[in-house]
């Protein structure tokens, strides 16, 4: 009896990785999907704060959904703890448009996949990468770089672009028929969509990408600010906090986070421990958390910002409650002026580097803005 060929692959549940798994199934290969959880998945964030487009339809894990559609087992692997120090904060190949260390990220995941391949006797690893599809990680040179640095040289198959890439060991040894693989390149998804129809892949998320926070410019701003002021002593809770709320920097040491809606307020409730809290009883209002040692002036400002985002924003003054450690009280403040507010909103900061970053002044936003020659940030 001939040995059944077994492959494992990175399965995000997007069109490309789903198709790649399906193409191998067509060649009678046993497929296992690996889905790595970095802690920066957009759908996970929605789920954490209890968001849903439709109460009967919670955000689904696309990898598990694809696994069900293809009848392919999927393993979810939590790499959050290693990912932060080894990949996000220390990327050898730098960041993309935001804070996305895509090349290092791919290398890291594929190194993990290689370990599983060797431990469990799989024949090779596959990914859904398409040559030329993404500017940072899916050009030929970065793809070669990922292959060699993952330790998978010869054992990494990209079924969608295989015909444009050197022949791999699975093809040489006849485990996979190269003639039945594809030579797709570029950013258009047209060929993949036609292929999906042909192979009966009907359910996949639209559009390509968008499943990771790190390329998002808004998230990247907050992360850069965080790293600039706090350095690399980062916890997961810190990262989670960057995913919600409006963020304002009051001073080098103090920042406030203002919930944008009820689900964000509920989410922020979980992080009250060790942070100051500001809220209003008289009107519907956000919950505001204060990070850092707030001075009396910072506290007043945090109250004023909270009043600005409450239903009492049109009033001359609003009674705002606060609690810091075992102390609590109430301040009557005027809602902060929008112009002053924008001075504090966290905008694009200096690019974070792993090297120590200089402390910058309280009015860093204004400084950066004038350096960039840009207009004031729009209200959000």
């Amino acid at each position: 009896m001939t040995e059944k060929i077994r492959a494992l692959g990175l399965l995000s549940g997007g069109l490309d990785s789903t198709l790649s798994a399906r193409i191998l199934q067509e060649q009678d290969i046993d497929v296992l999907g690996l889905h790595f959880s970095t802690g920066f998945c957009v759908a996970d964030r929605h789920r954490l704060i209890g968001n849903t487009n439709n109460p009967d339809k919670p955000y689904r894990n696309e990898a598990l959904r694809a696994g069900a559609d293809l009848r392919v087992p999927v393993e979810l692997i939590d790499i959050k703890d290693e990912y932060l120090p080894k990949v996000l904060l220390n990327p050898k190949y730098g960041y993309g448009q935001g804070m996305n260390p895509c090349i290092d990220c791919r290398i890291f995941m594929l190194q993990k996949a290689k370990e599983i391949m060797e431990d469990r006797g799989y024949h090779f690893v596959f990914t859904g990468e398409v040559l030329g599809q993404r500017p940072m990680s899916q050009r030929r040179q970065p793809m070669d770089n990922v292959t060699s640095n993952s330790g998978l040289a010869g054992y990494l198959l990209r079924p969608l672009s295989a015909k444009l890439l050197p022949t791999t060991i699975p093809e040489e040894r006849g485990w996979v028929d190269r003639e039945k693989l594809y030579g797709i390149s570029g950013r258009s998804r047209k060929v993949q969509m036609e292929l999906a129809e042909k192979l009966g892949v009907v359910d996949y998320p639209q559009p390509a990408g968008g499943c990771c926070f790190l390329p998002d410019e808004n998230y990247a701003r907050k992360l850069r600010d965080f790293l600039t002021f706090r350095g690399t002593d980062v916890t997961h809770d810190d990262m989670m906090m960057l995913k919600v709320g409006r963020h304002f920097r009051l001073s080098d040491d103090v920042k406030v986070i203002v919930g944008r809606d009820e689900s964000e307020n509920n989410y922020l409730e979980r992080f009250k421990q060790g942070r100051g809290q500001v809220w209003i009883d008289e009107f519907p209002s956000p919950l505001t958390l204060i990070e850092g040692q707030a001075s009396a002036q910072d506290l007043e400002l945090a109250c004023s910002i909270t009043a600005r985002y409450s239903d009492g924003r049109a009033h001359d003054s609003v009674p705002v409650k606060w609690r810091i450690d075992d102390n609590e009280g109430q301040l009557r403040v005027a809602p902060v002026d929008d112009e002053v507010l924008e001075e504090m909103r966290i905008l694009v900061g200096p690019m974070f580097t792993a090297a120590p970053v200089p402390k910058i002044s309280r009015h860093c936003n204004r400084m950066w803005r004038s350096m960039r020659g840009g207009p004031s940030a729009p209200s959000r």
């Binding site: 789920r47 919670p58 689904r60 894990n61 959904r65 696994g67 069900a68 293809l70 392919v72």
Partner: protein, 51 residues
């Protein structure tokens, strides 16, 4: 799951509404049986039979 014997039932407690879609999908992909889900005020109870 790996340490369970076929026929045994797993009770999973979760606070994430996503289990309502993810666990049935996972059961299909791994050939286990999704027995059902009970929604409680702050928690979901999910039952899966190992096949």
């Amino acid at each position: 799951m790996r340490s369970m014997k076929a026929g045994e039932i797993l009770l999973l407690l979760a606070d994430d509404a996503g289990v309502a879609v993810d666990i049935p999908a996972w059961c299909i992909s791994t050939s286990n049986e999704f027995l059902g889900l009970l929604k409680e005020p702050r928690m979901y109870r999910v039952y899966v039979r190992k096949l």
